[in-house]
Symmetry: C2
DNA sequence: GCGGTTACTGTAAGCGGTTACATTCAAAGC
DNA sequence: GCTTTGAATGTAACCGCTTACAGTAACCGC
């Protein structure tokens, strides 16, 4: 029953090595010259005492946390694995720590954002929980942020990294129409104000229009980019005595595609014979779904990596306001009717 | 060009409200009575000034970070989504923050663990980067930890949450043998010292032995529980002029199963006719792989949730040393030959 | 030999909170 | 009325670092 883990402090090190705490600090941070002899002694003492600087004390004194935050709407999507991977790799390389937190528009009633200037040096924002006005305020106060899959408010110079949604979706839907003769195409939206979802809806509508197909509100469902919700929504849609005829589904993203495929399967609908299905993201499992999923390949790990790198750019005073849109590419597989 | 975001401090609040900083602190933390009148005034001032306490200052003074850490070997697996989900939900509910970091045995050469007593109040350890001796030392110093998918060193009272591996694997392999007549069963290990992998290997061997099948080292490959590595290993195994005959693959986990299925597919091997395939975890995509994957359902989100809850139990001084093994269940689908 | 550098080191004042201890004051007990 | 008590508040000492400032000694060029 240890009383307390009274950890070893910089003063212990200083005393043991016979120098001042300032010298120890300088040696550790390598931000001022320290003589050969003292360096040797410190190296020895540090490892003997197993000294680890107390993070909070460091943060308080230096006004830097060496932590960056990743703010997500939720964690209900396999999509986040490559994203996290990209972010984490950069953060680790830089010797920083990564806090991840979920926060969405509804959270605002209950709490303030769990991460921000009070506990991080900068934020990657993949969340609708921070409104444009919040972004503007934070940015005005000089807090470094990079938006992920989200465009900054007009003429606010916050850098952003996202993927091309509109054009690729339009092409994908046109493929369904022109190659496979589908005209009753269901679209599963993502979260209501999520930008990817809006952009994909734009692409969807523009493809319909360009091909003389009237937009039918009954064909638009809310799948939330989530496997389980997509399943429920689709299950209900199908159970509804099939009042609404349809011949294909754009699931919004690959995660939702899993739910859609399960629902179709349970209702005895054949894919792609009866209903064609297409997704978005090309997550690792997409080629091995049943049938293999036609989808859009999005460079999600790169998005994470680049966003993190740009955030560190800001921390190192390389200002930027670029909106970066990484290219995407359609991957044709069986689920749309190809092959 | 703001000079600095000179944020509002507790002293500003105190001055504005005409009270001492101590009173403000007490009001915020609600750890001592504050009179009605002062409370009202403070409430108003706090929201006017948009005061947010500086985390590091708080940590330093209170010796609590209100942060817990999750240490992972890597982030290369969809398995981590449900795990993170469970952990994050609890952490958020408790008003804490979550740092995630990757650290594995090889990282030890380059760096100390990025998270520990210096920057967190407790750790969830799902990593082989901390050796038993590290765990013993940390535990002896009173640092709260919960092990995830890992058993504590003998007679060291660190709580642990994992899933049942050995018996369920034995049954799964016996199913391949007894129901589908397979006898040349490839096993893809996970990371070498990962406990799940070892336990599953035990189950695998025990099933072979119980059924009079000699263990053949040539059938054991290192898939690392990773999609891409599993693919490469399997691809090479198949390309090797098929010197080693086999009729089934236990992929170690579902993520590796994706790689294995892709490799088999590319080599024109039919599943399950030529080769049966089974996985572990029952990730969301498993029912929709091609063919649907026979696997073991593991309650991964519960593991995350329970582990986090137990860590908070430790923080609240409810000691525990229980090793918790959550039950698992085989899910039969097409890939083993069923249906 | 002297002023001006340069290299190294120490002293001590914060950073922005928490909290032990002291103080004040009104209500209660006798 | 006087002491006791407890609620409410203030004062100030930390928490463990960083860093501005100051100081010393050695070295440089002239």
């Amino acid at each position: 029953m240890t009383k307390r883990s009274s950890s070893v402090t910089i003063r212990d090190v200083a005393r043991q090595a016979g120098v001042s705490v300032a010298t120890v600090s300088r040696y550790i941070n390598r931000n001022a010259p320290v003589s050969e002899g003292v360096s040797c002694r410190l190296e020895k003492v540090l490892s003997e005492l197993k000294y680890v600087p107390h993070a909070a004390a460091r943060h308080l004194a230096s006004r830097k946390t060496r932590v960056i935050g990743l703010l997500l709407n939720n964690l209900h999507n396999d999509f986040f694995v490559p994203l996290l991977n990209g972010v984490e790799a950069v953060v680790r390389r830089k010797g920083y720590n990564l806090i991840i937190a979920t926060y969405h528009a509804d959270s605002r009633k209950e709490m303030l954002p769990p991460i921000g200037p009070h506990n991080t040096d900068g934020l990657l924002v993949f969340s609708d929980g921070l409104f444009d006005e919040d972004l503007i305020n934070l940015n005005a106060s000089g807090f470094p942020m990079v938006l992920v899959h989200r465009t900054p408010p007009p003429s606010v110079p916050i850098p952003s990294v996202t993927v091309e949604n509109v054009e690729v979706t339009r092409k994908l839907i046109e493929h369904l129409i022109q190659v496979h003769g589908r005209r009753r195409i269901v679209f599963l939206r993502g979260p209501l104000h999520q930008e990817d979802s809006c952009k994909r809806e734009m692409g969807y509508k523009s493809a319909l229009q360009a091909n003389g197909i009237p937009f039918d509100e009954n064909l638009v469902l809310n799948g939330d980019f989530e496997r389980d919700i997509a399943f429920q929504v689709m299950d209900q849609f199908l159970g509804n005595d099939r009042q609404v005829a349809f011949d294909s589904v754009f699931t919004g993203d690959d995660d939702a595609a899993i739910g859609v495929l399960r629902a179709l399967h349970q209702h005895g609908v054949r894919v792609p014979e009866d209903v064609a299905v297409i997704g978005f993201d090309d997550l690792g499992f997409a080629p091995f779904l049943n049938p293999p999923l036609t989808t859009v390949r999005a460079p999600t790990e790169s998005v994470g990596r680049i966003a993190a790198e740009r955030l560190f750019g800001l921390l190192e005073n390389q200002p930027s306001d670029e909106v970066m849109i990484l290219p995407t590419e359609i991957i044709f597989r069986r689920s749309c009717g190809c092959q």
